[in-house]
Each structure stands twice: as structure tokens, then as C-alpha cells.
């Protein structure tokens, strides 16, 4: 028994030598250690470790699922993009077709309108020409009239005595050259 050391320790709470080697306290230490180990073991193996293991497994499961879901969504996105591009290309082709059709229609309309306008213009030109001829003829007649009147007036001013019919015959003869 290490009663010396123990008594000294108990009396003044100052250690003599190594308290670790005081065999009288070993039973106490070992007993409480074993109690503690049993308690820790049961708490860990019954409560803590299964719980933590479950959480970790659940997390890795969640991560795997999420990755799979992400992969799936990515493929969906790729498919959607492809569909979008296809639709876009189709729409472009459609639009080009519509534009070409519209152009052709407009061209046809334009051609018809041009032909119609040409015809109208030709008609108008012919009409105008006829009218110009008429006016020209009218003008010649007026010139004859005016010349006759003027000649008659001139003759009478100069003192000649002529009748209208003589003057007009003379003017007509003169105009014919």
C-alpha cells in the first residue's frame, strides 16, 4: 500500500512522488473509467453513430439524385435547344417562302398596273394628238379670218373701196401661195 504517499496527499494535498503510482486509487479510477466507456459506447452505438451515418448516407443519396436530375435536365435543355433551332430554321424557310411569294404577287400586280398605265398613256397621247391637230386646224382658220379682217381694214384705211368678198378671195389666194 502506498499509504504514505496517500496520507501525505490527503493531508496537505501536495503530492509526494508520482500520484500515478499510488495503487490505492487505481480501483477507483478503473471503475469510473469502465463506467464511462460503457456509457459512451452505448450512446455512440445506439444513438449518435447510426444517426450520423444515416445523415451521411442520406446526403450522398441526395447528391447522387441531384446529379442525376441535373444530368436529365441538361439533356432536356439540349433537346429543347435543338427543337428551338429546328423551329427557327423552319420559320426562316417559311418566311423566305412568304417573302418570295409576296414579291411575285407584287411583281404581277405591278406588271398589270404598268401595262394598264401604258395603255392609258397611249390613249391619252392619241387623244392629245388629235386635239392638237384640231387646235392647229382651228388656228389656221383663225389666221385666215384675221388676215381677211386686217386686209379689209387696211384697204379701207388706205382709201380703197372694196367689198369683203374680193378681199377674202385675194387673201385666200395669197395664203395658198
Amino acid at each position: 500500500m502506498a499509504t504514505e504517499a496517500h496520507e501525505a496527499a490527503a493531508a496537505a494535498t501536495h503530492a509526494v512522488g508520482m500520484p500515478q503510482l499510488d495503487i490505492s486509487t487505481w480501483a477507483n479510477q478503473i471503475f469510473w473509467l469502465l463506467v464511462a466507456l460503457v456509457v459512451i459506447y452505448f450512446v455512440l452505438s445506439r444513438v449518435a453513430l447510426p444517426r450520423i451515418g444515416a445523415v451521411l448516407a442520406e446526403r450522398s443519396g441526395t447528391i447522387t439524385n441531384d446529379l442525376a436530375a441535373a444530368e436529365e435536365l441538361k439533356q432536356k435543355a439540349v433537346a429543347a435547344e435543338k427543337a428551338y433551332n429546328d423551329a427557327l430554321a423552319k420559320a426562316r424557310a417559311e418566311a423566305a417562302k412568304i417573302v418570295a411569294q409576296a414579291k411575285a404577287e407584287i411583281q404581277a400586280d405591278l406588271d398589270i398596273a404598268t401595262a394598264k398605265a401604258d395603255a392609258e398613256i397611249a390613249a391619252k397621247a392619241a387623244q392629245s394628238e388629235a386635239r392638237i391637230g384640231e387646235i392647229r386646224a382651228g388656228a389656221l382658220e383663225s389666221v385666215t379670218e384675221v388676215a381677211k379682217d386686217t386686209a379689209l381694214e387696211l384697204v379701207s384705211v388706205l382709201g380703197g373701196q372694196v367689198d369683203a368678198e374680193t378681199v377674202s378671195a385675194a387673201v385666200a389666194a395669197r395664203l395658198k401661195g
Binding site: 496517500h6 496527499a9 494535498t13 486509487t25 464511462a36 459512451i40 455512440l44 449518435a48 450520423i52
Partner: protein, 260 residues
């Protein structure tokens, strides 16, 4: 005692290791008479209190820390998971797949030693793992556990691990003797390493703390205490790790069969 009068220093580095009754002093601090008898195994001592606090700290961390069971862990829960993953991986890597079923026991040892070491670093505390009685018990539990487990699992073939079949035949008996000796020395080195490290570190810390009572050298002494405290923090964790990984290595002999 007489140290103060003689040297002016009040250095009692071993006082921190004294095992004493928890309910033994009256209010004035004087020792009650009936407490001078030997401490019985069932009595509440400072060992009981600090081992109890160790258990409570472990429960607080491992049970209440994991209470949330969150997929995205809180800070405490991630610490718990870190410890779990660390020890689990160690057991799996060292002992192989068969050793995983002893993981709770390895975890128990690791957490107990780690928390006893860390709590022992609190000022005025008691370090249960600095006591040979405690570490020898821990080491013997591992030693006996591994030996019995090995004999149950591998039968007499467990003894084959002492017979080094890869060595030349003439050397095998000699090697067998060395192997047997080294096998039986295991619990000794396993336990003394832990107790010795902690006891030495704590005693040195106390010595330097004692020097701090002298004004001239107190700055140096306090600096030294601070530095050694940091070192002791490292030692506390490293020794828990060393004890645990050695447990795994020994366990491998039992569960992994005789691979020598």
C-alpha cells in the same frame, strides 16, 4: 510544504495528478478526518468528476450536435461529421472492410481520449489520461480484445502471425520469439506513450507556471507556459490519434488474419 520557505518558489508539478475525494473538504478547505482513509472504488473523486465531464462533452457534441440531421449541416454538425468520417475512414483503411463493425468501439476510445486530453488542458482541471491506471486499462482492453477476437476468428491460426513464413527457415524461431515479445510489449508502449506524454507536458507547464512567481523571469516563464500550452494542445490531439490508429493496426491482426 517546505519548498516555499526554502527556495521562494511554489512549484508542485505533481499536485495536479493527485486523486482525491470530491466531497472531502469543508467550507474552510480543511480536510475532514474520515477522509484520510484509502479511497474506495465506488467513491466520487476528481477522477469521477472529470471523466463524467468527458462523457457529457462527448454526448453534447455527438448527440446534440447531430440532432438537426440536416442535409446541409450546421457548424457543429459538420464537426461531428468530420470526426465520424475521419475515424470511419481510418478504421476502414487500416483494418479493412471486416474491421468496420468494431468502428463504434474505436470511436469510443478516440473520443474518450481526445476529450479527456482536451478537458485536462483547462486550468485547475484533472487529466484522467495522464494516469497509468486509466491508460493501462484502455490498452489492456484493446490487447485482450484483439487477442480474444483473433483466437475466435482465426482459431489457432492466429498464432501463425508469430511464425514469419517469409523469412528463411533457420531464422523463424528467433523471429518468433521477437514477435511474441513485441506482441506482449504492445499494451505497455500503447499505454505508457499516452500517459507519459500528457504527464510530462502538464508537469512542465506547472514548473514554468511556478517560475512565474519570480518577477525577474516571469515574462519568460509566462511566454514559455503559453508556448507549451500550444504544444500540449497539439499533443492532446496527436496522442488521441496515435492511440486510435495503433488500436486499428492491432485490430487488423485479429480481423485481417495472419498476413506476415
Amino acid at each position: 510544504m517546505t519548498d516555499v520557505a526554502e527556495t521562494g518558489f511554489a512549484i508542485h508539478p505533481m499536485d495536479q495528478f493527485v486523486v482525491s475525494r470530491w466531497f472531502c473538504h469543508d467550507d474552510a478547505g480543511t480536510v475532514i478526518n474520515e477522509c484520510t482513509a484509502d479511497i474506495q472504488w465506488y467513491e466520487i473523486t476528481n477522477v469521477t468528476v472529470w471523466i463524467g465531464l468527458t462523457v457529457l462533452a462527448i454526448i453534447a457534441l455527438m448527440v446534440f450536435g447531430s440532432r438537426g440531421r440536416a442535409i446541409i449541416p450546421s457548424r457543429v454538425q459538420s464537426v461531428v461529421e468530420l470526426i465520424y468520417g475521419f475515424i470511419y475512414k481510418m478504421v476502414e483503411d487500416v483494418t479493412g472492410h471486416d474491421g468496420v463493425k468494431y468502428f463504434p468501439y474505436v470511436m469510443t476510445l478516440f473520443l474518450f481520449i481526445l476529450f479527456a486530453n482536451l478537458l485536462g488542458l483547462l486550468p485547475m482541471s484533472f487529466t484522467s489520461t495522464s494516469h497509468v491506471a486509466v491508460t493501462v486499462t484502455l490498452a489492456l482492453l484493446v490487447f485482450l480484445g484483439v487477442t480474444i477476437l483473433g483466437l475466435i476468428r482465426n482459431g489457432i491460426g492466429f498464432l501463425g502471425m508469430f511464425w514469419v513464413s517469409s523469412a528463411p527457415l533457420a531464422l523463424r524461431p528467433v523471429l518468433a520469439i521477437i514477435e511474441v515479445i513485441s506482441y506482449f510489449v504492445r499494451p505497455v508502449s500503447h499505454s505508457i506513450r499516452l500517459a507519459g506524454n500528457l504527464m510530462a507536458g502538464h508537469a512542465v507547464m506547472k514548473v514554468f507556471a511556478g517560475f512565474a512567481s519570480m518577477a525577474v523571469i516571469s515574462p519568460v516563464a509566462i511566454g514559455a507556459v503559453t508556448a507549451i500550452y500550444g504544444l500540449e494542445l497539439l499533443v492532446a490531439v496527436v496522442q488521441a490519434y496515435v492511440f486510435t490508429i495503433l488500436t486499428c493496426v492491432y485490430l487488423k491482426d485479429a480481423v485481417g488474419g495472419a498476413h506476415h
